[in-house]
Amino acid sequence: MSVTVDAALAQSFGLTNDEYGTVLSIMGRTPSLTELGIFSVMWSEHCSYKSSRLHLKTLPTKAPWVIHGPGENAGVVDIGEGLAAVFKMESHNHPSFIEPYQGAATGVGGILRDVFTMGARPVANLNALRFGDPREADTCRVVNGVVRGIGGYGNCVGVPTVGGEVNFHRAYNGNPLVNAMTVGIAAQDRIFLSAAAGVGNPVVYVGSKTGRDGIHGATMSSAEFDEELSSKRPTVQVGDPFTEKLLIEACLELMATDAVIAIQDMGAAGLTSSAVEMASKGNVGIELDLDHVPQRETNMTAYEMMLSESQERMLMVLRPDRTEEARRIFEKWELDFAVIGVLTDTGNITVRHKGVVEADIPLGPLADQAPLYDRPIQPVAKAAVLEVPDSPVSLEEALKILVASPDLASRAWIWNQYDSTVGGQTIKRPGGADAAIVRVEGTNKALALTTDCTPRYGQADAYCGGAQAVVEAWRNITATGATPLAVTDNLNFGSPENPRIMGQFVEAIKGMGEACRALDFPVVSGNVSLYNETRSENGQAVAIQPTPAIGGLGVLEDASKAVGLALPEEGEILLVGETAGELGQSLWLREVCGREEGAPPKIDLQAERRNGDFVRSHILDGSITACHDVSDGGLLITVAEMAMAGHHGCELAPAPQGTKSHAFWFGEDQARYVVVTRKSDVLIQEAQRTGVPMFHLGVIKGDRIKIGTEMNCDLVTLRTLHEAFLPHLMGETE
């Protein structure tokens, strides 16, 4: 390939003139095409976190139970009995718009590899999805492809997809978000890291062959979308879940031996980033001979091989005396296994191909002199508190509008395409509880898992959006009886070069950090996805809503104590937490009044902690038999979801005197839970004693939801409305 390497080419690879200047000074010469490719992907936003690093550092990442925080392939926390939970969430947004099926599928594949790379068997997948306006024709294409892609990959590898969340909003037209999370279990003394060690040790490539797919995927995902999306299609990778399944089994079999010194999956920027990261972390040099790389296509150049993002590949450093044993394991699983290099003491990454040195870059400066930006910030004015408007409709009408609305409608159409039971450890499936509950095989413990974010809050007040995502994840775990341990984050924002967007980003991180600190809920892994923007018809950049998605993990010592959200046959219904009736940014305001206004509900971290700890302790002592946190749509939606899930109705007291009924029932005040008990006297007494606000809502009864004389709605009608949205959107109603 005869291409002139210069500043213009560097720019087309996504490097600024300044960044290219640094490349020249590091190299002391004009880099080769392969070298330029390596610099450009390593210094892309996706790999270098150059705009976000400064701010990410402010997040709390430590706790006595954190074994590995950010910086490894995934976060690792102690769950007792010598076991660890390994988890992370990662975005695959841009590919999922270009080619929804493969984009979402390879998103799942990539995050699975991050987890089993560390020696953990993946036990659960979750996701957080944002789609465009359901009235846009293209939304249906994206939903269809993404859901099929997640299912197609997860079902085949045999990891249950146990939970997730979905929002629809026009801000995601042309820029959907696909955030995938994987959770695995490992023995604490068998955690594998990526730092290479031992000069002379072999560097081994395993998994699928390398093709030309995904070249420059990492730089693409760091650029805004434009009209020429079809020309980008070849950069989307194709997933092969069958090979991934073999890779999981082969890697775990190999990891049971003592052959592996270091291991790293080939994710974004493929061979380049895995080789560079392993060598850099281990302070060694690495030499690769690309002639030995298993290749799927002919005449591939060094540049292409170094930048390919072909899926289902891993790079390992092995003990030389165990290499043949390792080879036999991979041959048994019918996977490629090739020694493609060696660790050196040069401190460089040296790439040879057909006898020619195609790249020779000092690793120190490649990492140390990577760009780091303190981008300008323009504070974004927070929306003013909304004055409570009158309701244009009755309570019952509002309830019916809301349960049928895109953000609250039943997700069964989606869940029913994901295998949620494979593995045989799923205790609470999607929709069964606020968090998915998955037993830890061979123990009495279970993990509680959830993904959460309310982007409309973040749009009005980014700080609140960040904090609320964390507290909602914490509440969802708490509402099952589990103790929240740690989170992974997936920060999806627009262009960091726009000071307003950068302002949102910084504020959201502040909010997250404060909530994480107050709740002892550290961030142990994460991913940043910037440049989530499209061009409107008049050429303006349109950013998504700030979407700091949180993946939360908690643990239950006794799995049998987990509670779900469905109303049981009998019991009294109580509300924990205070209700002022905050309708700003509520779904009621948006769906019933057509307004997206006001300040989001205020976050009181002390109240969150107090109310949550109260609820959890009374789930564990058996006095609470069902629980659902109050979030999107407010109190009446919470009760309606519990009633629909349990097929039992209830009779509720009217809103307290002095509160507007619709504000009481649809306000989205935080720090609240609806709980069911047969011991309301004891619980109310306990609440009084500990200063926890509590309100007696009503009793479980019949097959309708009644509120005094104000409302009397039958569950069958409600469920029909609730279940209609997705099948209707997808054109699958009869």
Binding site: D240, Y418, R439
Partner: protein, 233 residues
């Protein structure tokens, strides 16, 4: 009861099956690698669910030609007991150990949800844990579960009492034309069938995933209890 569970590349419900067998029989099954050429000494061979060879050709088609399937065939011919669940059922039809075929679900989507099954005969080791007419719940998780066979084969299966399970609603109503209960559109709502000696059984849903109250219920236990009682005699 000595049980072997076959693992093909891409099998993914072998662990679920191990737990179910262990829970009900108290004995640990052995895992059999697909390249093994013998299954001697076993009472029961199970082909569990998954995506053998990625199901990239036709579900079960590649696995049907693997070395162990020759041994399974010989085992079955000698009167051995074989259970195929989901992908295992697909493999059994591809290997012609059971008649018919499993097509793409009628709705063209993967189905992962609980379904209800009606027990059509109690006269086999696989179904004797129930009474004829019993209704139980089981999760399904498949893309290709739409059972089909020639009219003659269907007639024979019905006539010889070889339909083991049928999809039904919670009240036990079997309505082949109703996609709300016959979710994948199977012919005559057939969910599981038996070989002519009734010692080979294939079914699409996963009773092994309902053998523990904590993970959703014990509706699937009678399948394994029946096997233990028959094969431990």
């Amino acid at each position: 009861m000595k049980t072997g569970i076959v693992v093909f590349p891409g099998t993914n419900r072998e662990r679920d099956m191990v737990h179910a067998i262990e829970r009900v029989s108290g004995r640990k099954p052995t895992l059999l690698w697909h390249q093994q050429e013998s299954v001697e000494g076993l009472d029961l061979v199970i082909l569990p669910g998954g995506f053998s060879y990625g199901d990239y050709l036709r579900s079960g088609a590649m696995a049907a030609h693997s070395p162990i399937m020759k041994a399974v065939r010989q085992f079955a011919e000698k009167g051995g007991y074989v259970l195929g669940v989901c992908n295992g059922f697909q493999i059994l039809t591809e290997a012609r150990l059971l008649p018919g075929a499993l097509l793409r679900n009628a709705g063209m989507r993967f189905l992962s949800q609980d379904c209800f099954l009606k027990v059509e005969t109690s006269e086999s080791a696989f179904t004797c844990g129930w009474h004829k007419g019993d209704v139980f719940r089981a999760p399904m998780a498949h893309g290709d579960g739409n059972y089909t066979a020639s009219p003659e084969t269907l007639k024979r299966l019905e006539g010889e009492g070889r339909v083991a399970f049928r999809y039904c609603d919670g009240e036990g109503r079997v309505e082949p034309a109703n996609m709300a209960s016959n979710l994948n559109g199977s012919a005559q709502a057939i969910a599981g069938i038996l070989s002519d000696n009734k010692r080979v059984c294939g079914l699409m849903p996963h009773p092994e995933n309902l053998t523990d109250a904590l993970t959703g219920g014990t509706d699937g236990v009678p399948l394994f209890k029946g096997l233990v009682e028959t094969l431990s005699r």
